[in-house]
Subunit: 176 residues, 2 copies
């Protein structure tokens, strides 16, 4: 089951490394910029249709890139000083107030999307939605049992019924 | 099948992005350092026992980190200017001659290894070897059909029968 392996990979190869460091990076960011974030958590976006954008502003113009957090460097599998970084976005609410949030899409959904487009991957568009749900549930269960990652993330499942609302993304982020 | 999804993820999320850029990065590296590499290909190490080291010198002292190639930056899934880089290693041969090679382990094998250690992942040590072989075959087939990645990589399957030979890794790299 593709989604099962991708959820474990996302946790073991990324979230387990970066989430415990997040609080420290947010403090460093405050020392560098004087800016306070809405939350010290990583907001992880999971669109049910697996349509992942490179830039969040493509989805909602009330969301704009602000700055990157200080980066982490780790020696991983022969790559020296591999870089891990997160982006801070400014999200405008109903009262035109700006909020700073650390947000990104769950990268493995991009793999699910591209696999459903490639004939040789053996994976149809119809199966994709099921796999996204399986990915979400597996990841949620892994993270809930993870002591290292407690309180450092928010999983945001995005329904695609709201694609006509140009400000669906900002509202969903600010709900949390 | 975990290995199938991880092979596709490794290709779609990494090799398809970086391999077409490799020749350009090796040229830039030459312009910066005057150093010629043994080959413009990325050597990808696949140990059958999935035991992936952070640093190659831990495996063979004839292999030592030299420098990193110039890095690539891409906007991916909401992370702005995500960094992709490869490490150049100096590998000494039987005649004490040094060779410069771009080498790294296939990082998803680290996921397979860690999954076999975690009880809740549903994945035993016995299944792991089979999954590594499935990962290798799936990746090899994907890469052979990929026009973008032609001639820019070498897959090096590492048997664990040679673990008593302290210079197995350097010999395997230099065979190619
Ligand atoms: N948002 C985000 N930022 C990151 O820095 C990052 N690094 C990993 N991941 C995601 O976590 C999971 C585990 O990563 P792993 O390194 O084992 O596999 C990676 C790894 O084998 C390879 N790869 C990707 N980026 C790099 C890189 N910069 N250097 C070396 N290998 C890389 O290709 C696989 C798939 O990558 P992504 O499809 O981007 O998603 C990964 C994956 O779902 C990231 N996600």
């Amino acid at each position: 089951n593709v989604a099962h392996g991708l959820a474990w990979s996302f946790y073991l190869g990324y979230l387990k490394l970066v989430l415990p460091e997040l609080e420290g990076l947010v403090k460093q960011y405050y020392n560098l910029t004087g800016e306070v974030l809405r939350s010290p958590r990583l907001y992880i976006l999971l669109p049910l249709n697996a349509a992942v954008s490179a830039k969040l502003e493509e989805e909602d113009n009330l969301v704009s890139f602000h700055k990157n957090l200080p980066q982490l460097e780790r020696d991983r599998a022969g790559v020296r000083s591999r870089v891990y970084k997160h982006s801070v976005y400014k999200v405008i609410d109903n009262n035109k107030e700006p909020h700073l949030c650390v947000v990104e899409y769950a990268t493995p959904l991009l793999t699910l999307y591209q696999m459903s487009q490639d004939n040789s991957a053996g994976f149809s568009e119809k199966e994709r939605r099921q796999q996204v749900l399986l990915f979400y549930r597996t990841l949620r269960d892994i993270l809930e049992s993870s002591l290292e990652c407690r309180n450092s993330y928010r999983l945001i499942l995005l329904d695609d019924d709201h694609s006509e609302d140009p400000h669906f993304l900002s509202k969903e982020i600010l709900k949390h």
